[in-house]
């Protein structure tokens, strides 16, 4: 897209508004993500303090639960928002603040990867493999369950309206 708006004597045939700048360069969109990030990461930190991980060969249960719950909620949120209408206005703000910001920073891939490395280094290959593969596979099942739940909730809401 060109950086300046063209001035034309002929009005555009297509009366739909010009698509705005992509979200990642819009201050309001970045602010929505920043706001959500203020909530997600400390929530994960707090859960780690309350349910600490014993690093000697044990499964990182807390991080596993965080990632699975986050995967379920993100699936439900994105599916429900997509069914409610186009990605603009309040739906886009909700997607960016709650989805990208809160859930995106609540869940973590770096801790999953490095905890797996530390299990491997500590000669716990079975824990490492079951933890890593278990998170990815159960995570996809949780995402699919979340998508199904989001779809069901929006359908149910439509039926209630009738």
């Amino acid at each position: 897209m060109s950086g300046h708006r063209e001035v034309s004597a002929v009005p555009p045939v297509d009366s739909t508004p010009r698509s705005p700048a992509p979200p990642h360069v819009r201050a309001s969109a970045i602010a929505a993500v920043a706001l959500g990030g203020l909530i997600g990461a400390p929530a994960r930190y707090g859960l780690g303090v309350v349910f600490p991980h014993n690093p000697t060969g044990h499964w990182p249960v807390t991080t596993f639960a965080i990632n699975i719950v986050g995967a379920f909620v993100l699936g439900g949120l994105l599916e429900a928002l997509a069914r409610l209408g186009p990605d603009s206005g309040w739906r886009q703000r909700a997607r960016l603040c709650v989805g990208t910001g809160i859930i995106g920073s609540f869940t973590t891939y770096s801790t999953l990867a490095v905890d797996t490395d530390l299990l491997l280094r500590g000669h716990h290959p079975w824990s490492a493999v079951t933890y890593a593969l278990g998170t990815v596979i159960v995570g996809m099942v949780a995402t699919a369950a979340g998508i199904g739940t989001g779809a069901w909730m929006t359908t149910w809401r439509e039926e209630e309206r009738r």
Binding site: A34, G75, G104, S105, T107, Y109, S110, T111, T116
Partner: protein, 121 residues
Amino acid sequence: MMVLWVALAGSAGAVARFVLDGVIRSRCSSEFPWATVVINATGSLLLGVLAGLVLFRGSPGSVQAIVGIGFCGGYTTFSTASFEAVRLIQRQRYRAAAANAFGTLALTVLAGAAGLAVAGW
């Protein structure tokens, strides 16, 4: 007090992910979600270095909490990676979905190991 720093670092990480994701998507029109792969691999590399500095070099744990749990955790994301893999399955792109899900796992574990190795030198 620590939770406030983790919140600020997590917010910065989430914004870094959002902007980088947008930049990569605007340059790479592939249906395969490369942006999330790059973000999760680079974040795992950084967390590996940090964890290694704490484990092998006695760096303070507060750095690990703020930069590791806050920034790296806010920057990398599991939920989006999982969602993108499931979307590929929904489009019946099963090989791409498997490559995305298990390739990301392998790549991030390698990146984390490389980070730990770098810090151990």
